[in-house]
């Protein structure tokens, strides 16, 4: 007599097929979610490196690696941070060495330095009408950021452009939160110093 086998007797092959189907579904979901985040990941990647070509290579390497090691991602955790951790690791491995001793000498320029410089360079005619920020150009900001030393720039880019928390940035770069804070602080000041140099000829 023909009949369906009872559930408990399902063969190992059937169980294996089900497992594979579930895994394939999880993988597809992972890949789709990772691709949906690619614009946001690229926004950060583009400013971690100097050129568009480098950023595009880095994105492809990072996504290839992410798709290979997708099982290591824990669903429910921050996928964008997970992708950027892969990407920053690749970037550092790519011959871009971590700076041994990031510059630690005190910066003379404080946080008000750029504003003070820009305001002092104000043209006399109706200074109230013009916003000080308008004396900066977008191109000068991109150049000034590119000249911030790597270790500081990584943190500034992750927090100020990628909108990551200090804790996420610390995980991505595998450094303590305190180091994130000090590099961020210093990196922003270096950025302002660079901007002041380009915006206000001495």
């Amino acid at each position: 007599m023909l009949g369906w086998p009872p559930m408990s007797e399902s063969t190992p092959t059937t169980a294996e097929t089900r497992r594979l189907a579930a895994e394939s579904r999880d993988r597809v979901r992972f890949e789709e979610e990772a691709l949906e985040l690619s614009d946001q990941v690229y926004r950060v990647a583009r400013r971690l490196v100097g050129s568009r070509e480098e950023a595009e290579d880095l994105m492809q390497d990072a996504y290839a690696r992410a798709f290979r090691s997708w099982r290591q991602y824990q669903p429910g955790t921050n996928l964008r941070a997970w992708l950027l951790r892969i990407l920053t690791n690749l970037n550092i491995d790519n011959g871009r060495r971590r700076q041994r001793t990031p510059e630690t000498q005190p910066l003379e320029e404080g946080d008000y330095f750029l504003y003070n410089k820009l305001e002092a360079a104000a043209p006399e005619e109706n200074p109230a009408e013009e916003r000080v920020i308008e004396r900066l150009s977008q191109g000068s900001v991109v150049d000034a950021l590119a000249e911030v030393p790597h270790d500081f720039r990584d943190v500034v880019v992750l927090v100020d452009i990628g909108d990551f928390s200090y804790a996420d940035a610390a995980q991505i770069l595998d450094i303590p939160v305190g180091t994130v804070m000090s590099r961020l602080h210093r990196g922003r000041r270096i950025l302002k110093r660079n901007l002041a140099e380009s915006a206000v000829p001495t």
Binding site: S24, R27, V28, E31, L35, S38, D39, Y42, R43, R46, R47, R52, E56, M59, Q60, Y63, A64, F67, G110, D111, Y112, L114, Y115, R131, V132, I133, L136, Q138, G139, V141, V142, L145, V157, V159, D160, I161, Y166, L184, H185, R188, L191, K192
Partner: protein
Amino acid sequence: MDLCDQCEEMMQPYVDGVLSDVQVQRAKEHLDRCTWCAKRYRFEVELRHFVRVAAAEPMSPELKAKLAALRTPLH
């Protein structure tokens, strides 16, 4: 260290929103009274926004297609 120097030191964590309630209160009180620091505070906020906008460069459609092609082929 006078209040404006302290305010300058607190400016970044203040804009980042990581100060304690007491520190935030102190910073606000100073910024309400001190137009010199208030101008610099507004500039800091504008600068953050300016950097974010200036740094944005959209990904090319070609790269997007290349990334999609890296997916595991479906059987």
